[in-house]
């Protein structure tokens, strides 16, 4: 279990700046789920990432349009078929420095080239970080600018078994050029970020009576002149108690989730960690902590060993096997099916959770987009990168399989921004934005 290392991080993990510290316990500002915000519909976006490409014939529906059959890897979406949108023919056209996996993840949400740098991939020239911001952060910044859409965190970056290593392969989200954001892959750390303050408040409240009692004792042994100062102090303690009491119940619209304790961060626990992270994400949407989230499984070239599926070898290693190795292709299809199950589980949990202060479920107001750094593992192609969407957050027309003719993925990124109410005309490399956002609604 890793902890935030500096006190600055501790303070920022409370979700407020150091300048606002004296107000840390000002509870009514904790969850911003106020009445005014409820008046307009909340829209949310989740980007989910899994690595190493997919197996096309076990993934893409043969048909186009509303009548289509889900193949093996996408079968878990069956219950949400009418709320799903499968986009074939979207290509990552960004080139430049870095190998396919580096560009795959580094340009996926940024739509722009990597900086030249010192990180050598398996081929091509060495590269550094992305030269631009990622679309989720762009949207988050837009939402945070406006009082009506501002939330405590704006966005939350979840991970599952992301290696403890900062390099081009492990970072998908960028706050700006050369500013990668590390996902939080420890559910307990994420829990601390989301609810630590509430826990602290509970602990604090529990000792205030004893503190008052002791204060009285101390007061009785000082001079009458000095007693005035301690009386003043006692008043502050009383006020703190009242503030904590007043905040009680107002701060959250739901109970603090109970996490199974002691789950270590290791390969075999990936399914459990995944569930915990999804649970925390659903809860943070219910509390309106954020409107944008990312969920990154492992990393680009990630090597999860899915023993729980009977797959012993690492994912990346398997993904290099040729199409002719049918056994491995089956295993790869199964691996992607497992990732799809995670998406389906997230969709299910969102569908089960009513929209607080609104109508319908969280899923009605949330779009999940599952994607990958490559189209296909053994060819490292950036063409036909999988983009599978579920949910009604962005008002796209769902229940379809759609096949584009090699469109740049920058246009899809623009569609996401437009769907979230941020009407930008260019994103990432402008060369690939010329025809505007893809029409999806």
């Amino acid at each position: 279990m890793s902890y935030p290392t500096s006190r600055r991080q501790f303070l920022s993990s409370l979700g407020i700046s150091a300048a606002a510290m004296p107000f840390v316990l000002n509870l009514p500002s904790l969850g911003l789920g106020n009445e005014q915000a409820a008046a307009t519909r909340k829209k949310r976006l989740v980007v989910m990432f899994s690595p190493n490409g997919i197996v096309p014939n076990a993934f893409w529906p043969d048909e186009e349009g509303e009548n289509f059959t889900l193949k093996e890897s996408l079968q878990p979406l069956e219950p949400f078929k009418e709320k799903s949108l499968i986009l074939h023919g979207v290509c990552d056209k960004i080139r430049g420095d870095g190998d396919g996996h580096m560009r795959g993840i580094g340009c996926l949400l940024t739509g722009i080239e990597l900086f030249p740098g010192n990180i050598q991939g398996g081929s091509d020239t060495p590269a550094g970080w992305s030269t631009g911001i990622s679309i989720d952060q762009e949207i988050k910044n837009h939402l945070q600018k406006n009082e009506a859409t501002r939330t405590r965190f704006g966005s939350l970056e979840f991970g599952v078994m992301v290696p403890d290593r900062a390099d081009t392969w492990t970072r998908m989200v960028y706050a700006g050029p050369n500013k990668p954001i590390a996902p939080i892959d420890d559910p307990y750390q994420m829990f601390g970020k989301l609810y630590g303050r509430l826990k602290d408040q509970e602990s604090l409240r529990s000792v205030l009576d004893d503190l008052q009692g002791d204060l009285k004792k101390i007061s009785s042994i000082v001079s009458s002149e000095d007693k005035k100062l301690l009386d003043e102090h006692a008043t502050f303690v009383r006020e703190l108690e009242q503030e904590l009491k007043a905040g009680d119940g107002k701060s959250l619209t739901h109970a603090v989730p109970q996490l199974e304790l002691g789950i270590k961060e290791e390969n075999d626990n990936i399914p459990k960690i995944s569930k915990l992270q999804i649970e925390l994400m659903v809860n943070s949407f219910a509390a309106d902590f954020a409107r944008v989230a990312t969920l990154q499984y492992t990393n680009s070239v990630g090597g999860a060993r899915m023993k729980w599926l009977g797959v012993e070898k690492g994912h990346h290693e398997l993904s290099h096997e040729p199409d002719s190795n049918e056994d491995v292709q089956k295993q790869l299809a199964r691996i992607n099916k497992w990732y799809c199950e995670q998406m389906a589980y997230l969709a299910k949990r969102l569908a089960e959770t009513p929209e607080p202060g609104g109508s319908g479920s969280l899923l009605d107001n949330t779009t999940i987009m599952w994607t990958n750094e490559l189209g296909k593992g053994n060819s490292h192609t950036p063409d036909n990168v999988p983009f599978v969407l579920v949910g009604g957050g962005l008002d796209f027309k769902m229940g379809r399989s759609h096949k584009f003719k090699r469109v740049a993925h920058n246009r899809l990124l623009l569609s996401l921004a437009h769907g979230m109410g941020h009407s930008i005309e260019k994103f990432g490399n402008p060369k690939f934005c010329e025809e505007g956002p893809l029409a999806l609604s």
Binding site: Y3, F115, S203, E239
Partner: protein, 769 residues
Amino acid sequence: MKLAQFHLTLAAAWLLATSSAIAAERTGEQIYRELCVTCHGMAGEGTKDQPKVLAGDLSIEQLTKVIDKTMPEGEPEKCVGEDAKRVAAYIHETFYSPIAQARIKPARVELSRLTVRQYQNVMTDLIGSFRPPSGWEEPGGLHGEYYKGRRTRGGDRAIDRIDPVVQFDFGEASPEPEKMEAHEFSIRWEGSVFAPESGVYEFVVKTEHATRLWVNSNARSEADQPLIDKWVKSGNDSEYRGSIRLLGGRVYPLKLEFSKAKQGVDDSKNQKKPPPARKASIALEWKTPSHAQELIPARCLSRRGAPEVYVCETHFPPDDRSIGYERGSSISKAWDQATTVGALEAASFFLEHLRELANVRVDEQDAGPRLREFCYKLAERAFRRPLSPEQRRLFVDRQFELAGELELAMKRVLLFIFKSPRFLYREVGTPQPDAFDVASRISFGLWDSAPDEELLGAAAAGQLSTREQVSAQVHRMLPDLRTRAKLGGFFLQLLKIDQVPDIAKDSAAFPEFSPEVASDLRTSLEMTLDDVVWSGRSDFRELLLGESIYLNGRLAKLYGTDLIEDSTFQKMTLDDGKRAGVITHPYLLSAFAYTSTSSPIHRGVFVSRSLLGRTLRPPPEAVAPLAPDLHAGLTTRERVLLQTKAQACQTCHAMINPIGFSLENFDAIGRYREQEKDKPVDASGSYLTRTGETVQFSGPAELARFLANSPEVHNATVERLFHYLIKQPIRAYGPDTLRRLRDSFTKKEFNIQELTADIVTEEAMAGKK
């Protein structure tokens, strides 16, 4: 040393001539009641129309003069001559003088919370007490290890040496061609860095290659994030910055890594051609809170490692300094909220570092009892005294029983301790001060922090009961870095430069006076202060008389002496002995000056207030200085005389100006000059002492000699240092304390360290009635 010439005059003599027969019949009190009381009140407390309290430090003679010329307001002719003298004597004796003030309003030692500085130190030392001890040894550079290959590990080490500073330009070559190749090598510098002052430091690494810098982190695990992480080289940036808050006077671990190589996949075996030649350089710089960006100097780097230091990030409202020193005798809502946030911050830190600090993991078999033991110890160190059985129950046992879960129990205990007045205030533990209060008085007096283990041990063993025992502990603790940090702060405050003054100068008049020069001057002054205080003699007079000054290449060039351009700081003599001590240091002379001209007023006010300890009221109305170009023919001295010649100004300027004039040999950047505007500089000046003697001096050296030997300066210094160290009014310790300390200061050859020890010992013993 030559004695200054003292010209004594009987200031009151001329007044006798104007005395009137009738007035001679009336006492000062009668006159006061008749003419003054309606405005000033019965005891000078003031009235609605004239709310200023009639109190100050003018001598009877000076007071007489003011009354004679200006009082009663509008009709000064009603009280002149002998009448004025009698009234002056009466009010001086009854309520005006500091002694009279002390008599009518007895001071007392007030209950005080920890000041912000004390809170920060106490937290740091409390957590530090569970870590290995720290020290500052072998300054002079970092341990550098140079490796063949891209990684700084394994048996590829080719060079092992001490690098005084990190500033290398290897060009396209290898650091040592016989030992390592040019195209691929890596270096690790390790050791510690000394932070001279508190605040936010910006560390800067300049290199075209991969680099990582850790400050105040021993990087034991991956979770210990570097301050600067540019192991991924991305784009063309070659200067990286990271900011971190550090407490002054403490030592922090530092590690810098550099790699001239590609990272990621190692493809070197597949490369057929030799890699292209590339340049490599690296420099480690910093921007401390009060200096311009500079190379981290060797004197602040050591090859020795250091434990991490807890630095509180919580922002506290600043302490009350309205009476000249920080004190904790008042509280506010904002302060209380800050203590809550500070408690949460520290509690989280303890829980995150439980393994390191308590050597216990919550999931261990016997974690419960061991954590309780840890909590008892923690509470004792936090409260700076042993716990009673009831307190052990209340603060620890009860919380463990109520919380159930261990982690929760720890959190409750920690929050309870850090919110407790026993932690946040001084001397609330017992009805009467005991040995543990004595221990705290010593440590807070010297360090602004809690007692260390040894001092608490002495208290527990009853070895703090005699003056000798206390003095022995004080002398043991005196050389500690924390004393140095605290005393360093005192002199910056004394010289009015604790807040960095804005000393930008007119670039047309002084093109060479850059921010870097100003920063170097500050360093030079700080080194001088450190030298004086921590040299063997620690002689206060040396501060005012010392003839040498620290200069580096840049300063030497500007102030007209010979030194190689990139020389580091060294002691030199400037201007042939025409300088003496800190009042002639160019940093102070520049700070107390305008952008293009000197300012005798600022310099005079500084000497009067800070050194002579005089009280000067702000000018009756805001006055803009006369613009030099409106009086193009006048020297600065003439211009100042012209502007302040009005009677209302002279009350104070009669003291200020003649002192400031004696420093007129120095221009706006503190360079020596013989002439101004083609006229010879008139640097003659004078001072009317509190006892009524007029002292005359000409030029800086005579002024410095007067000040160094002036009982007024000694008195003011003792009083100021007492207040700075103890944060309570000296008068609360009895009417003789100041005199006794001053006598001892004089007897001990004005030894600053001994004065510090005396003050702290005096206060520590004060409660032992």
